[in-house]
Symmetry: C2
Subunit: 115 residues, 2 copies
Amino acid sequence: MFRDCKDVVGPVRVGDKWTCRILRCLRDGDRRFSELRVPLSAITPKVLTESLRAMERDGLVRRTAHPGVPPKVVYSLTDLGRRLLEFMDTICDWTVTNLPEILEARRAYDERVSV
Amino acid sequence: MFRDCKDVVGPVRVGDKWTCRILRCLRDGDRRFSELRVPLSAITPKVLTESLRAMERDGLVRRTAHPGVPPKVVYSLTDLGRRLLEFMDTICDWTVTNLPEILEARRAYDERVSV
DNA sequence: CCGTATCCATGGGGATACTG
DNA sequence: CAGTATCCCCATGGATACGG
């Protein structure tokens, strides 16, 4: 449904594998780099860094580095990021609403071709 | 924004490169296989076939084969496909609305890092 | 702790040729 | 015309190790 919208959306870091999940992790407040890796357990630091950088650049998240040793960096949602998060919820609602019909179509299709 | 929703969406053929564009090509009426290739000029028959099959399976498009030689097959939107198409329009609306803010964020970011 | 640097695996999708 | 059949590229992103 959505990756195609990259063309419409153009440059927005939208439609990739991690953006939505990262936004969700930040829903309830700031998170540190390592705290983000926990719920996104499969993510490697490289990929997380890339994702966060791109999202920061697009104004979806804010990066705040607290000086000192050991370093401490927290990520938080911007207003734009929060609006996107909420909009993604409506997208998921659409899916939840329509999923039964999709699954039924698929069941019917599979039965037709298997015969 | 959206590819991640594949996880939410799960099995739905949504978030891939072609679904949205194909739906748009069918907006104004039925189209034949070769007619679809014109507006989707970059698409190869293999990819178009794969996309259409998956969309048919998910109940987004309907495939109607008219017997005879040469063969004639037309694709059309199902009700579900049309609802998805309309919903994609609202997604694009969100983007259009928010794109200026994103671009501005990006401009500011690039200036910051280039300094 | 918060990343970078390297290398590598995978699969989506493109190019091309062919068939019923 | 409406696809199949092959081959192949390459970007995304995973694994691992290391650095400030």
